[in-house]
Symmetry: C2
Subunit: 437 residues, 2 copies
Amino acid sequence: MAGSARITALDVLDVRFPTSDQLDGSDAMNPEPDYSAAYVRLRTDAGDDADGHALTFTTGRGNDVQANAIAALAPYVVGRPVAQVCDDLGGFARALIHDPQLRWLGPEKGVIHMATGAVVNAAWDLAAKRAGKPVWRHLADMSPAELVAQIDFRWLSDALTPGEALDLLRRARAGRDERIATLLEHGYPAYTSTPGWLGYSDEKLARLARQAVADGFAQIKLKVGASVEDDVRRMRAARAAVGDDVRIAVDANQRWDVQPAIDWMRRLAPYDPYWIEEPTSPDDVLGHAAVRRALHPIKVATGEHGANRVVFKQLLQAGAVDIVQIDASRVGGINENLAILLLAAKFGVPVCPHAGGVGLCEMVQHLAMFDFVAVSATMRDRVIEYVDHLHEHFLHPARVLAGRYVAPAAPGLHAQMHPASLARYAYPAGPVWAGRA
Amino acid sequence: MAGSARITALDVLDVRFPTSDQLDGSDAMNPEPDYSAAYVRLRTDAGDDADGHALTFTTGRGNDVQANAIAALAPYVVGRPVAQVCDDLGGFARALIHDPQLRWLGPEKGVIHMATGAVVNAAWDLAAKRAGKPVWRHLADMSPAELVAQIDFRWLSDALTPGEALDLLRRARAGRDERIATLLEHGYPAYTSTPGWLGYSDEKLARLARQAVADGFAQIKLKVGASVEDDVRRMRAARAAVGDDVRIAVDANQRWDVQPAIDWMRRLAPYDPYWIEEPTSPDDVLGHAAVRRALHPIKVATGEHGANRVVFKQLLQAGAVDIVQIDASRVGGINENLAILLLAAKFGVPVCPHAGGVGLCEMVQHLAMFDFVAVSATMRDRVIEYVDHLHEHFLHPARVLAGRYVAPAAPGLHAQMHPASLARYAYPAGPVWAGRA
């Protein structure tokens, strides 16, 4: 039965958390987000417990649009042999992405691309569970040639060829076992955005910043961009709270045009911001390059809204970023993120994943850990974002101890949520939402 | 009643034409498109016949995803006073685009952005009908200040400020009345893509190319990118058919990486291609710039998949294009296309709209004609794409005579389809599709 098992269903759930009640997650462009998941589950007739779970993170309204787009992919998935999908995830991802009619809706960006990413990631969850490994280890155990086969190199060859990718991966084989041991023993560095939401008072900001340092974090992040006077005051308070040795990143969530970004950041420069994240439009490669030139040595970071590998390729080609921020649910799944990790390694730019949104920490940690083991082979200046909320809804929540992600051991991608959470926060019929209507 | 009228409904229809039967519209990335419309109708209680009609063009599968996204905007639209919407279309567009939760699904790209564009365009149809004017004339009769108020300048100020836009528009006031008279008398130049679909035989290609010249077209376009040997043969046949004085553009529909684009086009260069359209990823600003540098004097054209004004801004800043190809249904509606027209004028690059897909000719002609009257003030090296199919489904089909679009006189945007067509091609329940199931 196992050899002939097929994917029998693609279920989609609209799950929303009323985070706007507390202004958790509030920033200059997202004043009142309700952290949400367009959640997908691939079921099979393999007769085991291994379903494939993944999600697209959204901030509330529109989660139904995202869920609908995922559901529209069911005809491309249901009926496929499980082994065929899991043994050729690269081919599976390409088949979804290059459908000649669906691609008109992007191409490779926005709702349809995130839907593809969710389905592809659910297939990775399925494959890793069948292999009995967490995704980071499932990836790390692939050969360089197997990894290269995961990647769609279309539009990349002026920056990265399959041969170059293969060379990079082969060179990173040296020291692999030691790095796995290091990872298992010491975990992977995290930073926390918990103190810095825009909706928090200065007192709460300072208290949470001190707590972060006490908890072992060497970097925190503040949201900025609504009021420069407020930001100067908040940045000063945060710097006073954490001292000179803790990095403080700031995040404008795309709020500014190019010159305003430069002017605003010069006001904050006396408090030594480590990076400015999303200073302007996520599509504006040239704009980011201009901001970076003007603000050096303050680093420029972006990527959580980078639509696809072509955007990341250009950010690197143009010297527009010091930090590449991959996101687990924005691009076309793990396969496209592998391409982005390799591009970043080729250009020698560190990857510091975006996370925090529901399920993002759980998923993206695998990519950073795989990068350490098999691609960049270093943790230097690399940190994964962490926000301590909503993890209780997951079967295998991301764990951060003493400022470091613990390498997860359970098989899969870890986006799987508890059935009770899926039911309770179902939108609009779950009890949390029905009670508000 | 009229003054207090409100928008009472946002209806969405999934309309598909089985164009793949004949390979009309076939190209290197879209081998078998079914030209489709995610169609929107805004109804009011004004007691007149003026509904607002517009559509997002797609190529078949996924049209339901697009329609669903448009429907999700209903709560933002239904209940608004008609006069408030029509008197401040800029504010209306910004309210949709900057919704802090929905914008996560883009931002400003893909399904959610095209949905916004369709709704915004439907509001323009409504406004123009209430003004008793075709959209091009409704726009041309606005003052420079009114036009500037239509535009969202966020992320543009490093390339175009509101003050610069105002200056451009004021300078273009000179000669405006003469240009309106010219437009009404002589129309606007068109080119035809009818001969060059990839699925056509060489014989059909040559016959249609000769017919195009006989019909008065001074430019035709061929699809390329599937096989270089075939393309050389087809290009040679087309050149032989039309002679040396007719421009032949070629269109790769994103098929190539950067260096392959350059190599392939060098094979076609002996037959004097006028422009190469979409040589690579529509997101690849730097890639287009590299192709343009290498292929000069062959021109580089792109834009039909340009996700938003930030992409166009960069194409112009990077010197990546000789021709800007706006599309009526890809970006956030007429308002964003106004920004793109002004950017192109600022950089002195001609705009040659993409059209051909169902309803695109009908809609986009208004923008080119407005550009002639009030922005660039010239038709030099400017042509609107034309494909002669599916126009019979529209109340006011685009009309091309002797190779030129006739300036339309009927009020509105002209995306409105006959009720019988909407019913017949409704997917999946209309008779055309139900009969195939």
